[in-house]
Subunit: 364 residues, 2 copies
Amino acid sequence: MEDQTIRVELTNSKKEKPDENHLEFGRVFTDHMFIMDYAEPIGWHDARIVPYQPLVIDPSSMIFHYGQSVFEGLKGYRTETGDIQLFRPEKNFQRLNHSNDRLVIPQIDEEFVLEGIKELVAIDRDWVPHTEGTSIYIRPFIISTEPYLGVSPSKHFKFIVIMSPVGSYYKEGINPVKIAVENQYVRAVKGGTGEAKTGGNYASSLKAQEIVEKEGYSQVLWLDGMERKYIEEVGAMNVFFKINGEVVTPQLNGSILAGVTRDSVIQLLKYWDVPVSERRVSMQELYEAHQNGTLEEAFGSGTAAVISPIGELRWNGEHLVINNGEIGELSQKLYDTITAIQYGKVEDPFDWIEKVNLKSKVNL
Amino acid sequence: MEDQTIRVELTNSKKEKPDENHLEFGRVFTDHMFIMDYAEPIGWHDARIVPYQPLVIDPSSMIFHYGQSVFEGLKGYRTETGDIQLFRPEKNFQRLNHSNDRLVIPQIDEEFVLEGIKELVAIDRDWVPHTEGTSIYIRPFIISTEPYLGVSPSKHFKFIVIMSPVGSYYKEGINPVKIAVENQYVRAVKGGTGEAKTGGNYASSLKAQEIVEKEGYSQVLWLDGMERKYIEEVGAMNVFFKINGEVVTPQLNGSILAGVTRDSVIQLLKYWDVPVSERRVSMQELYEAHQNGTLEEAFGSGTAAVISPIGELRWNGEHLVINNGEIGELSQKLYDTITAIQYGKVEDPFDWIEKVNLKSKVNL
Ligand SMILES: Cc1ncc(COP(=O)(O)O)c(C=O)c1O
Ligand SMILES: Cc1ncc(COP(=O)(O)O)c(C=O)c1O
């Protein structure tokens, strides 16, 4: 990218902010958004922060037809001193470029885009809520906008960042969820797009999710697409099991998303000297561990919930209750530690925190 | 759908039409488009034909993030008498609803939508080119438009139809193409979305396509995602092989799109008493047939090209040349017959043709 400046156009009609105690996830957006355009041969250009506004897009734009798109999700946290900080944001932009590669979308300049997001957060700082457990959800995404109906990589893209203030995931305390193991539908397969964060993976997951919800389960546990034996993810989270004192999580095999929370969990466990291994885990192994009483804890990991304990797994008519349906000790410790780091309540031994400079260059 | 009327708002600035002899695929669009909206709990409503125009969509709309979308592709053909006719359009709307089911998108009223498309074609009749081999490409699609960042089925959709005049696929005669068998990437897998026409399948296919194009191949031959042994499709077409007098095509196994052209080819072959079977076909079988000289013809089938003969297959470093790289006799006969039916040059023994009533109800 040649031109490394960000043009800023401030809104002159600020929206009313929602009640911090009744924030829903992803329904209300802040006053501004970040955009930049891509066109061949110039590349990414015209980075700007502008009032939040609808996109005006030709109906033939590729995004509406061939789904060439990627996205990310991260959060900004308000500390007790009023600062705002991001959690490992560079990981999200590395992953975005990894997704870009798989989806034949041009690479972005990770550092520049992170600067843009920090500036956006600074401008919309008053949207970052203060109430316990709340945060600002940041959604960078790239869409293909060439007005052309041929199946081929787009020559035009838009990179956009929007932000939404969100409430605590666990307003009523952490309640372990019931999960159904999915035998019919698959989310991803080796050679497909599972390790990229692209719309198609989520579109594909809706059907299974809809079915198990009607049966009283909150998410599905995805198995591998080749043999339907090995565990991959839970809903849109990575998954961990504590078996006989050791924590195991499916290894990154090409069809699993490399979660930032997953990586943080692994690093923390190593720091605490808890045995942890990334390897294949079959449902059969899990079933046997449950039968012989060594399946001690199970949880999902992701930016939205941080740690989401699994209280019950349904598999082929069997109901495996884990840790009496209660959150495990290690799951709780991971949740407490990660959120404490995110909100700046404890030391950050891993250098995970990136502060936002609230003295933005623009006048508000 | 309660209200079965279609509101019509005609453009007052008609666009200039492109030169019929230099039509590109999918770059120029007609003067009007068909739209209807879906919202819970009203359902589909406000069907209308309006001037072709950009969509104004919130950046948080689900289509930009989670890819919940489906589409179709069919053509209108100009006959020698100046009529315009569609080819088996009801199959496209059946398939659209099948795709809708997989993608958790509400069903459309197939007959009503077909009426809407016929009315759109009638209004934009002057856009349907007359030159040999040209046609109007019709693109119905549905996008999820709820402004919400949660991964769940959208509560708002738009069904839209746009149209583009397209040139002959074979301006320089039918030249068989070189195809590379894809061993690394997969397009779809059992339990995934392969049998639905949804954006994610196409986004996922771009990477493999990009690689083989650089190596001088025009498309990839997709293998199954589970064993990487069985043939599924070629590029965005179904695929057929003539082996020792019998025509074989991969059976619809859940990860293959049920092509309208595929079905038409099968019906024609049966009508001609040519042995045809839908079954699993492995690359190994094909390789052996080639080695012993019984692989007689190979071709893709799809709306865009009708029949696309395969002249060479690259597989694990081997180059299988088929029928000396020339179009086979049966491939040619299928192409000639299907296109003759589409353009109304021969009888239509299967009742495949649906005429458009050019006396549209509106004044132009
Ligand atoms: C499919 C999928 N797996 C895992 C995750 C967890 O990743 P992270 O910890 O980076 O939020 C997410 C959410 O981003 C996801 O969408
Ligand atoms: C993946 C795929 N397979 C096959 C086909 C052929 O289907 P049809 O003959 O209906 O055009 C298409 C094109 O529509 C396609 O996109």
